[in-house]
């Protein structure tokens, strides 16, 4: 009877390979979870910057409104509209519409935001006062779509 012995060496280096594989997998998971969390943080920071910019320009618009209000408050009832226009035009960024009693100003932010304000200058027996006609938030630069033909799906084949 003949005995045949076959030696199969499976252990040499196997443990190390499995360890490296497991470590690599876990490293990838750790990196992915950190990347996801950091992306969320960046998004939250971006949203904060936008909100901060909006409230900053809102504050500047309110400040300008208070300056206009102060000028109107000090204006004598007998003063002509020309005189009032001259004094109000002294405020940076304030302009008048073709209609003499409509005043406009804009406040620009750093994140492509601007607030456009339109005021009606009115007067009664007590004196001059303003009425806010519009207070709009919009973008400074709009994207240019003129040369681009966008193929939009119309809902049917």
């Amino acid at each position: 009877m003949e005995n045949k012995n076959t030696n199969a060496s499976a252990g040499m280096g196997g443990t190390l390979i499995i360890t490296v594989f497991v470590v690599l997998c876990l490293m990838i998971f750790a990196a992915l979870s950190f990347t996801t969390a950091y992306s969320d943080l960046k998004l939250a920071r971006k949203a904060q910057d936008m909100a901060s910019d909006y409230y900053s320009i809102h504050g500047k618009a309110e400040e300008k409104l208070s300056e206009i209000s102060d000028i109107l408050f000090e204006t004598d009832i007998n003063e002509t509209m020309e005189g009032i226009k001259g004094r109000l035009s002294g405020i940076d960024g304030v302009s008048f519409d073709d209609k003499e009693t409509v005043l406009q100003y804009e406040v620009h932010g750093d994140k492509n935001h601007k607030i456009s304000v339109t005021l009606n200058i009115l007067h009664d027996s007590m004196g001059y006062y303003y009425e806010i006609s519009s207070w709009n938030l919009s973008n400074i630069n709009m994207p240019d779509y003129e040369d681009k033909i966008i193929d939009i799906w119309k809902g049917t084949e």
Binding site: K4, T6, S9, L41, K60, D70, F73, N120
Partner: protein, 165 residues
């Protein structure tokens, strides 16, 4: 005829020690990475929630017509603290789940108001900020950590200036 197959698992002690060392070293880095990821996610969520709370309260203040209405809103919603020179800070506290709670104070939202006196009204400089009582782990900072802060102004006219439709 008899065939014998003997599986010779010759795993040397050195190999096991090396594997354990690699796993331990990588484990420390990985655990740190997972922990940093967790607290980064918490920071991101805190920023988002604090932003929503702050903006909501700011919009309420913006919608009010007089300083009396504003102070009434602040007195009803916030705790008032004198911070000197007749200036007040209004604070409300939240627990770790961002539920308003005065006992378990984890987060604080504070409104600081200063009044710029104008001839025809009051220009209020309003700063709203959200802070965390304890700093986030893995970030070496002492004291309260600011999560979110915005500053703006609101003019309350004494006369005439009315908001049209």
């Amino acid at each position: 005829m008899k065939n014998k197959v003997s599986l010779n698992s010759r795993v040397s002690l050195w190999e096991i020690i090396l594997s354990v060392l690699i796993f331990a070293a990588a484990g420390i880095i990985m655990l740190n990475c997972f922990a940093i990821a967790r607290f980064t996610q918490i920071r991101a969520n805190d920023k988002t929630i604090a932003g929503a709370i702050i903006q909501s309260d700011f919009e309420i203040i913006k919608s009010l017509n007089t300083t009396d209405e504003m102070y009434e809103f602040l007195d009803n919603s916030y705790e008032r603290k004198n911070i000197g020179n007749n200036n007040y800070a209004y604070t409300k506290y939240f627990d770790k789940n961002w539920n308003q709670n005065s006992m378990d104070k984890e987060y604080a939202v504070t409104i600081r108001i200063s009044d710029e006196d104008m001839k025809s009204g009051n220009l209020m400089i309003i700063n709203i900020s959200a802070e965390k009582e304890k700093p986030y782990p893995f970030i070496k900072k002492e004291g309260m950590e600011q999560i979110y802060s915005i500053e703006s102004k609101k003019f309350f006219p004494d006369f005439g200036g009315i908001h049209g439709e």
